[in-house]
Symmetry: C3
Subunit: 467 residues, 3 copies
């Protein structure tokens, strides 16, 4: 091949010893740490019968499992099928999209159980886990899947595992600061998951900037069927987002309300996305990139406020705005970020997660600041914001202030963390591909032979097969 | 292009201003109406703590959310992935199938929340919503998705939004007549959703008859992978149909029974569909069109009776028959409807929804008429048919009569409504495509370029086409 | 056609009368038997109101429906989408994979309701069914889907229906021996579903050995998009496996615990699978076959012990080992089984179900034998192993012994049953295809034409492309 390359010599993408080593090392560490620390929580332990009696529970139904397990499964689908398939839109990176997402998420949930466990479920030297921990681990990994979207196609699986290790750690610290120190509400994670995850990923991809990426420009697009595979991801994210935002809300009205607000916001978002997708395109045609992504912004943008009394029409307004912002972002901001700021954002997470995440944080702060006892009821007010104990004296406007502080902290953590982790990932030992081999499954995967030949003389009849 | 066209001049399918205008207009109207009317119901409101005390509920588990949310999510999947992917079978209309279904359903659920809310959840000038309203909105939109199946590939997105507006309105009126005035049982919607939706759609497609549709005959078929995408839709509809039919049944035994009856009916339906698919084909091979569609008829056909004491073997019988009727319909009725009655039914909704819907209505009427206190128990009998208040005096046979009346009303509403709405959609302002451009995503969607060239010179340009 | 064939004359794969006959016969038998035997259980019967009073239940929530329905739906998805799509990896057998799986499972669940009903839910001459029966029927059919994996592409739909009839029967007998006579715990079915199903299928495929199968070698591989379709199956199996293993566990802590253990085991399994997939391949690239299959071994391997106090780190260990064993199996054992033992295992069920199933049985026996009152609590201990009534005197080590006996019984039933059923399927009346037509949808399915032409210049050099 005679193309000029940025780096003088071909990159070594040989994974045979490095990938197994990292995977096995990571897994052995997990086994040891789980052995030392992780045990079943009371509701999953065989002592539950006695526990039930002590807690005066009359029915097994009161086990948290039945309050949260259906939502957990929906969230689980979002992480593995939702994010995984959403990223299959690239014509030659379907294996990497689904497969690496699978790999990093499977590792990430283990590490998240530990990290979040130490911060939130640690008792007498043990981490006690139940279904809520599983949901939180999935949530934490969700932020890694988001960051993965920015660097999709440009990194090796080892880089992804290293990034997951660090990002889960930072996520847990940030989450602890927000939820425990600032006492902020963020059940659907507009700040902790989306804002943090997206700006972290954008910073990482900035540090990993590849000046010659146009060498693989031909592989950055989709083909007809890859766009349909991506719609599987989109729809599962869209449909189950009400479960995402309500999964760890308080039992009862809060879970119920979160689901309704999210449902409304997402519905509105689809219409404004379609409107702007058509409007911003000369020929007035719809663009699958917008439909696949911007329709989801409504879920992100009510992530903080869904469990509050946002009201259905409030949700429609937030959803409408976020669909517009996100679509406009795809048309105008993404090219700008790439050409001016050297931020190469493969999936456009800036439009789907970063901006809507910020909107979500702001809407959450405003909704909290605007809360009144009249709207929530006296008990509901205290319960909704957990104004008990040391937080008894908090007013809605103070709470709004802390919520806003939560956004700032998440942004700072994301920028600082992303810069450091990006620096680590830049080391030339992780086996990432050269620019002309980006977005190509053949580098890390056995690709079916006849299809390969196929694709290479297939999809581009007008391009000569060899230079 | 030299093909003769029915209409003298090419049609204007330019959407750039019209589609955004309609989407944004619709959405602004929704926001205003939601602002005026829609509020959280008691179980989703922050006052729930106080409400709980008043209602003497000891556990958050008694919140309707936990009775219905898992079923809601299943129904949600059916509407968006089920119907969306079922219609991707066309070789070049996958974006339109999934994307337009997404658009119309997202708008429809908002409008349905309002329409159904005014009829059923209106209190002190406000519509109070909870999870049951979300399910009902999805149901209502289901009937629009059904009608969409008849006109798939032949209409512009604006026509679909206009149709959705009117159909949701008419659906809600029809539903009100059936459930409130006739006091009819129809939890799975054989009459309200399937019979109404299908005959509405068939009437619309009759009014929109395109005499030159054979000009796009080459695009009306499937390709290998599009048939697999469609099977995703089929299976999700099939698997979650027990949730569909039980989602809004009474708590307890009624939900439980509906799920069992539907499970049985669907299982039987698969076998008779396979049998007749093979039998009615000279070479004895199975036809994916039948497997994709007729296997679902069993769910439609127990939509009214599933919550009654239909019994498992009754369900098997109904499922078996509906599979046969539906498959026979695909082989004999669909061509007849097209050639003789000028009803161009892209997805064959006459076979999947119309006829099985009628069967469902009739089976429901018979099952109701045959109910006895012996079979239901004294309390169960009253609860199952809600023979309380002014309906205290109803006997099973009267109920059967009212059920039958419900079928007739649904048919009349469908024909009349479909004719009017079809007339509106015939106006030459909505941007529908010319006959030779039907079933082609390229009209309304940005389609990935190299794939397009691909499909047309198809898969192996360098291999000689003949040996 | 000049290829030499093993058998002198072409095989008759004409299904037109045989397939309909078998389907309809089977279905009529089901209707009659359901009519005689099957009725609603108390919780699904309209008498529930009275029942509730008698059982002193205060809430409809206590209906088993609400404890198990969400898990049931997840299991349902695993059987129909999970297994169905997992097998679509073959380039030209997607219709057969999804469609025949659909057919056999739809028949199998009906027959399983009867067979399992006679053994476990028979009361006063009637089989009383509820949601747990639906789950068990799906489980039973799961074992048939597993066996189908071994013979995928090589059998006619009639053979599959015949095999289903016999395998469901044998499954139920084996299950009865294990659960009722040996009083063994096996909620996730490591023994009853996986070990039995896999060794049954392997024995059948051994009996049906096709010496000339290399004639269709070109169709035994995947293409790029078929591998992505298969990943849909993989992910749904992987994500919902916690529901599979917990679906019929005791209410409360046991369900909760099963889900957690399975979640952990599966997560670990992904990492070791990726590690060994890369390590065992010269070029160090990942192989989709391993990712699609071996990542699931962790679910199989905790099928018996998930509801016990296996602990999260125990689950990680079991999951890690099973991922390694399964991947190594794909690389070394499958070729060995084919070349030396003449076991042609299309999907590699030996690696995904047989070996991990054995591991699961053994881990279950060890975990049971190691149980102490200290770990389980006095009541929990009795409840977990159901040491009541005649089993009051059982000790953990006896239980461990019985668990081990359960493995042996399952193996014996599988070998004996598989040999007999394989013999029956070898009869030349069932319409299976000749060796060179294996793995080809065109034999039993109408395949879309233009795609066909495609495939036929690709895959069938002997048909002229144009007349």
């Amino acid at each position: 091949m005679e193309r000029p390359r940025h780096q003088g010599m071909p990159k070594n993408t040989y994974m045979r010893w490095r990938l197994p080593l990292v995977c096995l090392l990571w897994e052995v560490a997990m086994i040891v740490l789980f052995g030392v620390f992780v045990r079943f929580g009371a509701e999953a332990d065989a002592h539950w019968e006695e526990e039930k009696r002590e807690m005066n529970l009359t029915s097994d139904m009161e086990n948290d499992f039945y309050f949260r397990y259906p939502s957990f499964q929906d969230v689980h689908v979002m992480i593995f099928v939702g994010f995984g398939f959403l990223m299959t839109f690239l014509k030659r990176y379907g294996f990497g999209a689904v497969g690496f997402n699978f790999l990093l998420a499977a590792f990430g949930i283990q590490w998240a159980l530990l990290m979040q466990g130490w911060f939130h479920s640690f008792k007498d030297g043990k981490i006690l886990i139940g279904v809520e921990n599983l949901i939180n681990a999935d949530f934490c990994v969700g932020s890694v899947c988001i960051a993965f979207g920015a660097i999709l196609g440009k990194t090796s699986p080892i880089q992804l595992l290293v990034m997951t290790l660090f990002q889960v750690t930072l996520f847990s610290v940030n989450e602890y600061i927000l939820l425990n120190l600032l006492h902020v509400k963020d059940a659907g994670g507009s700040m902790t998951i989306h804002t943090f995850g997206a700006y972290f990923g954008l910073t990482v991809t900035r540090v990993l900037y590849r000046p010659n990426l146009e060498q693989s420009k031909d592989k950055q697009g989709s083909v007809y069927h890859s766009d349909l595979f991506a719609m599987i991801g989109t729809l599962y994210l869209w449909m189950y987002w009400p479960s995402f935002n309500s999964a760890i809300s308080d039992h009862g009205d809060a879970q119920h309300r979160s689901a309704i607000n999210t449902y409304c916001s997402l519905a509105a978002c689809v219409l404004t996305t379609m409107a702007f997708s058509s409007m911003l395109q000369k020929k007035g045609k719809l663009d699958m990139v917008h439909i696949q992504n911007a329709t989801l912004a409504g879920g992100v943008a009510v992530g903080t406020s869904a469990e509050m009394m946002l009201t259905p029409y409030g949700s429609l307004i937030v959803g409408s705005i976020s669909g517009i912002v996100s679509t406009v972002g795809y048309v105008y901001f993404t090219p700008f970020l790439e050409s001016r700021l050297h931020i190469q954002d493969t999936c456009g997470i800036h439009n789907l997660h970063a901006m809507p995440g910020l909107i979500g944080g702001i809407v959450g702060a405003i909704t909290a600041a605007a809360a009144t006892e009249d709207v929530y009821g006296k008990e509901g007010f205290i319960k909704a914001f957990d104004f008990t104990g040391v937080y008894q004296a908090r007013t809605p406007s103070t709470q709004g202030g802390f919520q806003a502080a939560g956004i700032v902290v998440s942004l700072l953590m994301a920028f600082a963390g992303g810069a450091i982790v990006g620096g680590i990932l830049k080391l030339p030992i992780w086996g990432d591909a050269a620019a002309e081999n980006c977005f190509e499954d053949g580098i890390y995967w056995e690709v079916p032979e006849d299809e390969e030949s196929d694709v290479y003389h297939m999809h581009n009849p007008d391009k000569p097969a060899s230079p």
